[in-house]
């Protein structure tokens, strides 16, 4: 996951590199995702999320649709 100056730069770079257009998150969204995903990582009892838990975390951040589906 890369960070670009703007969506226009994503489009230009994706075309030049023949990379799928994928999904674009705002700066606030990627920070919310990073906080939700990693905020508890230093807790001694941390365990890896189940796919269902991860899917719920995405849904709570409005990351829904086929791109964010963990099970194919």
């Amino acid at each position: 996951m890369l960070f670009f100056r703007s969506e226009e730069h994503v489009v230009r770079w994706s075309r030049a590199q023949a990379v799928p257009s994928g999904a674009v998150l705002t700066r606030d969204q990627i920070w919310q995702l990073a906080s939700a995903w990693y905020g508890d990582r230093m807790e001694p009892g941390w365990r890896r999320r189940s796919p269902a838990e991860a899917q719920r975390l995405f849904a709570d951040l409005d990351l829904t649709g086929p791109f964010w589906q963990l099970s194919p």
């Binding site: 960070f3 730069h9 674009v24 990627i30 920070w31 995903w37 990693y38 995405f58 086929p66 194919p72």
Partner: protein, 150 residues
Amino acid sequence: VTAASELDRRVRLHIYEQFLEDGRPPTAAETGSALGLSNDEAVRSYHRLADRRVIVLEPGTVDIWMANPLSARPTPFRAEVGARWWYGTCIWDALGILAMVRVDGTVRTACPDCDEPLVLTVSNSDIGGDPGVAHFAVPAARWWDDIGYT
């Protein structure tokens, strides 16, 4: 809770604490020595953690490549807290380092399209700094097909 899972819990926490402290992940031998384990026990624990995708090992070795969000290999995503810094495996992870340590800091990267340096700041749990967007090329279901590329 099995003995192995309790041991893996201690090993995992030690890996993260030392990675943050030293700026590099501990070897299995170092972890074994710190936690009073034999080298074999530490190696087996590293492999179990890797099998469960808690850490990622350098191919064919027991050396840690990733303990997400931390990356032992240099990347274009650097998280800084004061004079200390670590590489995140991607923009999500570099910001994740700041979220994980729960302190204010900065993430430095560059736009892959134009190479312009971009600086994100986290202060009091709020994001600021340069505007920009994160791009995910690989759908979630395929992230672990090639985690290095993802």
